[in-house]
């Protein structure tokens, strides 16, 4: 299987209901993350770096920020004569809650693409993966459907994913939907699936005619009929399905090994560029253990934070364990701890805001505190 024979198909709204604050005015895929990125940058960069030339991004609602961010796809090298990125808003004005109906709604687009295979991916995954290994694995095993999984413990209180059991060769034996949490590592499936396009559409059509709209059941039933294999993503992988996941992922970036792996210069993560100057540290700044994007001006104290582009931290401010999105201004002598601050927020001088490790406070876009 050649990479240019695979269509990328990304869902922009994956689990947006689980992060209602962050996704209030945007898609899951366009949630700002890691200082200068949006969530979708990871999957689009992975696809581009793996040689996929054609990507469709399914958007359901509030997709202005998504369109603004990915634009023509040129930032990911997906806007050339032989490569393409298409945003797929609801066709015929209809939105669907099930993936089966959503995929069927896009059958015109999917079938018009000349690629033989399709790689379906959710828009809430931050990882750096070489999909060509998945393609080789798929071909080698003569697989009909390949699911990518990640080993990990599902903690209580977190979204319970689909899990699977596979034999030593990777052939899937069982699939569980929403299993009870336990303290052992399980093989979690976040929804990245490689499948022949004709098979996908055939199964989707069958499901629709049976009024069977649950895609999880569809996958579960497929192991009886098809060769279903599971490919392990051995690298760092974060699925953002709660505000705690979001907070934890940003904090994970303080770890060198996580940064080195996610931002591997051999297969970089691309994003829309803004012309920000390098960040300026003032005479009273004191920054510890933080990730700082360009265009920031820092006069105060910052510890364990992720600061996006163009953030201002006033003199005497104490900002700890915070995620601050682009162009937010934090005034002088403020005191902030465990706060997620959306973009264009103004925190006036002298304000204090305290969240907690397990319960970070969220301040909405354009608020004035």
């Amino acid at each position: 299987m050649r990479s240019n024979d695979v269509l990328g198909f990304v869902f922009a709204d994956t689990l947006s209901e689980k992060i209602p604050e962050l996704a209030a005015s945007r898609t899951t895929a366009s949630v700002p993350i890691g200082g200068k990125y949006r969530l979708i940058d990871f999957v689009l960069s992975n696809m581009s770096n793996s040689g996929i030339n054609n990507v469709g991004v399914v958007a359901k609602s509030n997709y202005l920020s998504l369109m603004d961010h990915v634009g023509s796809g040129s930032a990911y090298d997906l806007s050339k004569r032989r490569s393409n990125l298409t945003i797929l808003p609801p066709y015929g004005g209809k939105t669907f809650s099930s993936y089966v109906e959503t995929i069927y709604n896009m059958h015109g687009y999917i079938e018009s693409c000349r690629e033989e295979y399709v790689l379906i991916a959710p828009g809430n995954i931050a990882t750096n993966i070489d999909y060509t290994e998945v393609f080789d694995f798929h071909s080698k095993n003569n697989s009909d459907i390949t699911l990518i999984y990640k080993k990990g413990v599902v903690h209580s209180g977190y979204e319970r994913p689909i899990t699977l059991e596979a034999d030593a060769d990777g052939k899937v034996k069982q699939i569980f939907i929403k299993p009870e949490t336990c303290h052992e590592e399980v093989n979690q499936v976040y929804g990245t699936v490689l499948i022949r396009k004709s098979l996908l559409m055939e199964e989707i059509r069958k499901s629709l005619s049976l009024n069977q709209l649950d895609i999880k059941r569809l996958i579960q039933n497929s192991i009886e009929k098809f060769n279903v294999y599971a490919f392990e993503n051995k690298g760092y992988c974060a699925a953002i399905s709660s505000i705690n996941d979001y907070f934890k992922f940003n904090m994970d970036l303080m770890k060198k090994e996580v940064r080195d792996e996610l931002f591997n210069p051999k297969h970089p993560i691309y994003t829309k560029v803004r012309d920000d100057a390098p960040s300026k540290y003032g005479l009273t700044s004191n920054v510890k253990n933080s990730i700082i994007a360009q265009g920031c001006v820092i006069e105060g104290e910052v510890e364990n934070c992720v600061l996006s582009k163009g953030v201002y931290i006033g003199e005497g401010a104490k900002v700890s364990n915070c995620i601050v999105m682009q162009d937010t201004k934090i005034g002088c002598n403020t005191n902030l701890n465990y706060v997620i601050i959306d973009k264009d927020v103004t925190i006036k001088d002298g304000r204090s805001l305290m969240g907690f490790d397990s319960y970070p406070i969220y301040i909405a876009k354009k608020s004035v505190v």
């Binding site: 890691g34 200082g35 200068k36 970036l253 303080m254 060198k256 940064r259 996610l262 931002f263 210069p265 970089p268 993560i269 691309y270 994003t271 560029v273 012309d275 100057a277 390098p278 960040s279 300026k280 540290y281 003032g282 005479l283 009273t284 700044s285 004191n286 920054v287 510890k288 253990n289 933080s290 990730i291 700082i292 994007a293 360009q294 992720v306 600061l307």
Partner: protein, 403 residues
């Protein structure tokens, strides 16, 4: 057929910049990194775009590879229009022969074809070695208002320094009556900034005449401008107010970088465009301490940084001290090293506990100290000591001490 452009800008970028030593060994002066993420040429190019000039020719000759690659299709500066944009113009072969650019005027003369495609009224001549932000439109308005053949931008310099510049002596209304190149006893403090606006018809005439003169250097300052003045053309000095610095020497390059950290200096980096490397935001560790510095994307800082500028992808190890220095893209400063008043070029590695440069007792007294410069892709060994004012060549390995 090209749509007409009222103004075409020609950017002189072919000089070697020999006074920048090892920094311009493999790249032209306009491509020298500046200000944490820029190259010098970003300033005049961004000025052009922000002044609405859509056709820019860059005259390249010396080591053009890095510069050509950097400019590319001009997209970062919005200079990738369908019928206009940026072009790198190297010397070329023609039926009548092949010539290097023998001077600034000759470089423009050889590209008359390029200019005439746009059928312009005015041509702006710029240099690729100045740091400043300027709206060329205002200067053009002045040029039109005076009905001038040539307008030269001038900046007011302190009288004590005037003898280092080309001084223009003018009447009260700005009309130039005399050029005074580096005068011993300057009559005024109007220093030429090397920015000229010509009415194209006149310029073309004088370029063609100059080309025919055998004893000419084919240089704007030495030949073309004096010839125009002698012929009685209307030449005016346009007074510019704001930050402007010629960064043709190591000292001035270092100073201009340091000016970015000085709150009293009026230069800001807003609306200066550049090509952006794809790197993650920078990381500052728990052991790090950063004050009054600029840090670009992709850096990892574990040490101490004061009055310094880090370009993209620089690593500063643990217990490192960097003071009043400029560290260019991809350089690695290993644990325990001490960098004082130095410029470290791209991808150079400074080994553990090495000492580069010295903190001068008296900054004003330039006879006793100077900036230490380490060229690109060089390896400084662990514990090595590189004294002040030393310049280390690029692509070398320094094992011992250098004085």
């Amino acid at each position: 057929m090209f749509p007409k452009q009222e103004v075409v800008a020609m950017l002189l970028a072919g000089g070697q910049g020999s006074r920048l030593g090892v920094l311009t060994k493999k790249l032209a002066k306009p491509a020298v990194p500046f200000g944490g993420k820029y190259r010098i040429i970003d300033f005049p190019l961004s000025n052009c775009v922000n002044s609405g000039i859509e056709a820019v020719g860059i005259l390249t000759q010396y080591q053009p590879l890095v510069l050509n690659e950097y400019i590319g299709n001009g997209q970062p500066w919005d200079l990738d229009g369908m019928h206009s944009g940026v072009n790198c113009l190297s010397p070329y072969q023609a039926v009548e022969g092949a010539d290097w650019y023998s001077g600034t005027a000759n470089a423009i003369y050889q590209n008359i074809n390029y200019i005439e495609r746009y059928d312009p009224e005015y041509v702006v001549i710029l240099s690729g070695d100045h740091i400043y932000k300027m709206d060329y439109n205002k200067m053009l308005d002045f040029h039109k208002e005076k009905n001038a053949a040539c307008t030269i931008a001038v900046i007011d310099v302190p009288l004590a320094e005037a003898s280092r510049f080309g001084i223009l002596n003018t009447y009260e209304d700005g009309k130039i009556y005399e050029f005074d190149e580096k005068p011993e006893h300057p009559k005024s403090t109007n220093a030429s900034m090397g920015i000229y606006i010509f009415s194209w018809k006149e310029l073309k005439k004088y370029l063609t005449e100059d080309e025919a003169k055998e004893d000419s250097h084919h240089d704007f300052g030495k030949d073309v401008l004096p010839a125009m003045l002698e012929a009685g053309e209307r030449m005016y000095a346009y007074p510019f107010e704001g930050y402007w610095k010629d960064v043709g020497t190591i000292d001035s390059l270092w100073e201009a970088n340091m000016d970015l950290l000085d709150p009293k200096v009026t230069l800001d980096l807003k609306d200066v465009y550049s090509r952006n490397p794809m790197m993650p935001p920078h990381y500052v560790s728990s052991e790090a301490f950063i004050q009054n510095s600029l840090v670009a994307d992709g850096c990892n800082v574990y040490g101490n940084l004061e009055f310094s500028i880090l370009f993209s992808g620089v690593t500063i190890g643990k217990n490192v001290t960097v003071n009043s220095s400029i560290i260019m893209p991809g350089a690695v400063i290993e644990d325990g090293a001490n960098i004082q008043f130095a410029i470290i070029a791209e991808n150079t590695v400074v080994g553990k506990n090495a000492k580069v440069g010295e903190n001068p007792a008296d900054v004003e007294n330039r006879d006793n100290w100077g900036i230490t410069v380490i060229g690109a892709n060089t390896k400084i060994a662990d514990n090595a000591v590189i004294k002040s004012k030393v310049m280390i060549d690029s692509d070398t390995e320094v094992t011992g001490n250098e004085e």
